[in-house]
């Protein structure tokens, strides 16, 4: 197992290099001009051209790529944001604190609300609980997040005045509406996946075996069915966590939260190259680590997968 993890960590080096080269090349072929967003709309074409030259944007691809890779991987410097004038790493970490709060809260909601809902639906297959749960789930995945967010604001912030409409200056209260709005789809999808997976597992022979042993419904459900049912859900949760750490642009925009998503989207829109490239690299690293974690959790939950990681000596 440790060998496997070590191998995966080593693999991260080419992955990071791959991400760096790919993002650099994409930014290179993407039209759009960082100079124009820096100088504002009243700059003329000649002034823009001068600024581009000064920023070194007119150098050939290879020169710029080399400079970028040298700076990133040899000097470990992600550069300074064109727009904010601050270090990309510091900027990203500052934004990450908000994103992390939202991601963790949302994941918690998703797991601790979605999973029980899915279990309830599966154990009452085709019953009322199932129908209600699945209806909510469908609502969850088909209601656009911004719509839900704005409705929540209208009710709880504008009409009732319980919570702030937007911003991050009210402590935890600032995060309640964003998290509810953001996790609704996650809860829904978690519930559906749990249900689907539970249904598969509940029909398995080993569940009948467990029942035939005289175990109580609860024990059968939680000791035998759930752990098996959760295996595919690990991917969902891992992927969801990875995505959420990349920021949730819609929610961050609506609630005026200066999270990673807005930082990155703004950077993409204004072609703030250092932020885009540095951000993608760091987020890619985080994502890869989470995916590695997912694979490790897999191995812990499912001995069959662990056996596959450890080589093919498996069966005796």
């Amino acid at each position: 197992m440790i060998r496997y993890i070590g191998k995966r960590l080593l693999w991260m080096i080419p992955v990071m290099l791959g991400i760096a080269i790919l993002i650099f090349s994409i930014m290179y072929i993407c039209p759009g001009d960082p100079a124009s967003s820096l100088l504002g709309p009243s700059a003329s074409a000649v002034e823009l051209a001068a600024k581009r030259e000064e920023m070194g944007l007119n150098d050939p691809y290879i020169v710029r790529l080399g400079r970028y890779l040298y700076q990133t991987f040899i000097k470990f410097d992600l550069g300074t944001s064109y727009k904010f004038g601050t270090s990309v790493f510091a900027g990203l970490m500052e934004r990450m604190q908000y994103t992390l709060v939202i991601a963790l809260l949302c994941m918690a909601l998703q797991v601790f609300v979605g999973t029980p809902l899915g279990i309830a639906a599966a154990t009452h297959h085709n019953g009322i609980a199932d129908r209600i749960c699945m209806f909510l789930a469908l609502l969850g995945v088909s209601i656009p997040a911004f719509w839900l967010a704005l409705m929540l604001v209208l009710i709880f912030a504008v009409n009732l005045g319980w919570l702030p409409t937007s911003g991050v200056s009210n402590g935890l209260a600032s995060f309640i509406l964003p998290c509810i709005a953001n996790s609704f789809a996650g809860i829904a999808s978690q519930a559906r996946h749990t249900r689907s997976s539970m249904l598969e597992v509940i029909r398995s022979d080993y569940i009948v075996t467990a029942k035939a042993k005289g175990l109580s419904e609860k024990t059968v459900l939680f000791r035998h069915a759930l752990p098996n049912a959760l295996i595919p859900i690990i991917t969902i949760v891992g992927n969801g966590m990875g995505m959420m750490l990349g920021g949730t642009v819609i929610i961050e925009n609506v609630f005026a939260i200066p999270g990673v998503g807005r930082y990155m989207t703004d950077a993409i829109n204004s072609r703030d190259y250092p932020v885009v490239m540095g951000g993608v690299l760091i987020l890619g690293l985080i994502f890869s680590l989470i995916m590695l974690l997912v694979d490790i959790v897999y191995a812990f939950v499912d001995p069959r997968i662990k056996a596959q990681y450890e080589g093919r000596k498996g069966k005796k």
Binding site: P31, G32, D33, S36, S37, L38, L39, G40, P41, S42, A43, S44, A45, V46, E47, L48, A49, A50, K51, E54, S81, K83, F84, G85, T86, G91, E94, R95, F146, L150, V153, L154, A157, V158, G161, W162, L163, P164, T165, S166, G167, V168, S169, N170, G171, L172, A173, I176, N253, V254, F255, A256, I257, P258, R262, Y263, D266, N269, S270, R271
Partner: protein, 504 residues
């Protein structure tokens, strides 16, 4: 679970109580800002979000106060010769850290800003010479009409000592001469300013942009337009210039709220691509075919002004008589006749390129519908800001559009609006943005830029109108909605809120 919930609720309540409590002390105002200023350092460019906080954060040598130019840090301006001016500062300026501002700081600021290259106008400043503690001599390489003022207004001034003391070139914690000091900057969220009790200028000499009628100013960045409305309704913000036109009725004449309407200094106009529409009659026909009233109704909820030239009529060099001239008002007969003359028949297709934004999409759609009445198709090509900015000036892209919906404005002169797209010297390929290489047009605009006398202005305007290389459409109106905490809203000449100058 219940326990946890009640705990959370209690926490929430405690937190919200705390925030209300702190808001009670002193007079404070919260301004809703749609754009993120990002770097608030002095020598950054003029990205859209920055303009909103510029005058609260910094002072310049000169500002435009109402319709007149006034010295802010500058006490006297003396002309030495055509390209040389002496600037005399007040001799009692101190910044928020107590540093004295002297002529050497002026030299430092202009040189640093020019070297940073984010304020491209400064390229016409050749050098700044320190004559004495409070007198700096500016040497310019060239000065067109209005350039002197815009140059002196362009560069925010800070002391060299404070700038060098900052770790990040004042990107987050500028120390300036302004009456308000940044005390907290949560990047992307809020910027809070406290009034500087030791502001240097005497009240009777304070320019509008430096007034300080309130103790604390918070700019809150709210990118979503609906949330801006919600925040104002919930009175989390006191004033915003970014309330969508269709929501104005929620605040106008409503108890506790008020709305001030201020014409925007930008104008929407059409640029015709000379490569694909070389015939003046065809361009004129399109201009006649478009009904600006429709555009105002569809894109601006009925509130907007017809443009009378390429640019609006708020500039000092705008010639009054143009207001009464005919300027391609919607005329079906003329449009048909001109289309016939140009040989344009039904089935013709134009490609209209524009910068995507709600109002632009609607203007473009209105134009599309208007030309549709003549059997002419219009293909809309929307681009996001970055792509539009690139394609607009890209010679290679000129084969991909026929009409461009663009907008432009300037902080001082109409000629500066014209310069943006009509001066071929400012393009990298020696033609206007519309690919016109017309020597007469060029000589007329150069004349107007060098000397914006009504004659020169009119000559250029009339020629442009006759050729219809570009066609001014409409200027919008900004809605300043505010709670009655603000009794009179004040804006700078760029249409941005000046929270310190508002009355409470």
């Amino acid at each position: 679970m219940k326990k946890f919930l009640s705990l959370v609720l209690a926490l929430v309540m405690a937190l919200s109580m705390a925030s209300f409590a702190s808001a009670e002390q002193g007079k404070s105002v919260v301004v809703g800002l749609a754009g993120d200023p990002g770097n608030i350092g002095p020598f950054q460019g003029m990205g859209l979000g920055r303009i909103g906080i510029l005058f609260t954060t910094y002072e310049m040598l000169m500002v435009k106060d109402g319709d007149t130019f006034r010295g802010c840090l500058m006490k006297e301006l003396t002309k030495v010769d055509d390209l040389t001016y002496d600037v005399e500062l007040y001799d009692y300026i101190v910044d928020q850290a107590g540093n004295k501002l002297t002529a050497s700081d002026i030299k430092f600021c202009f040189e640093t800003a020019k070297a940073d290259g984010n304020l491209p106008k400064l390229s016409s400043v050749d050098s700044v010479e320190v004559l004495s503690d409070y007198v700096a001599r500016f040497h310019f390489t060239a000065l067109a009409a209005g350039d002197l003022e815009s140059l002196l207004m362009e560069c925010p001034i800070v002391t060299q000592a404070a700038y060098e003391a900052s770790a990040d070139k004042m990107a987050t914690d500028p120390i300036t001469t302004s009456p308000y000091q940044v005390v907290d900057y949560k990047t992307g969220s809020t910027i809070t300013y406290k009034r500087n009790e030791n502001y240097w200028q005497k009240d009777e000499l304070t320019v509008t942009t430096s007034r300080h009628n309130v103790d604390e100013i918070t700019f809150k960045i709210i990118p979503d337009p609906v949330q801006m409305v919600n925040a104002l309704k919930a009175k989390e913000i006191d004033i915003s210039a970014a309330i969508d036109g269709s929501y104005i009725s929620d605040f106008m004449g409503v108890e506790g709220f008020d709305v001030t309407q201020i014409p925007d200094n930008t104008t929407k106009y059409l640029i015709f691509n000379f490569d694909s529409i070389p015939n003046a009659a065809e361009r004129q026909a399109i201009a006649y075919a478009v009904d600006v009233d429709d555009i105002i109704a569809f894109a601006f909820d009925g509130i907007g002004y017809h443009a009378k030239t390429v640019g609006n009529n708020k500039y000092p060099d705008f010639v009054e008589s143009w207001n009464d001239e005919e300027y391609y008002e919607y005329d079906d007969d003329k449009a048909q006749a001109l289309f016939a003359e140009a040989g344009v028949t039904a089935g013709k297709t134009y490609r209209l390129i524009y910068n995507v934004a709600d109002d632009n999409t609607r203007i473009a759609t209105t134009i599309q519908a208007a030309l549709g009445d003549y059997g002419i198709n219009v293909t809309l090509i929307p681009y996001d800001n970055a792509l539009f900015g690139t394609y607009k000036y890209d010679d290679k892209k000129s084969g991909e559009w026929d009409i461009m919906l663009d907008e432009g404005g300037s902080s001082n002169l109409l000629t500066n609006v014209w310069k943006l797209t009509l001066d071929s010297r400012d393009q990298t390929y020696g033609k206007t943005v519309g690919h016109v290489a017309d020597e007469k047009l060029q000589s007329l605009i150069e004349a107007a830029i060098n000397d914006n006398s009504p004659e020169n202005m009119d000559a250029f305007h009339q020629y442009l109108k006759e050729q219809c290389y570009e066609y001014g459409l409409v200027s919008k109106v900004n809605n300043l909605a505010h709670t009655t905490v603000v009794t009179r809203a004040a804006t700078c000449f760029r249409g941005q809120i000046l929270p310190g100058a508002c009355e409470y």
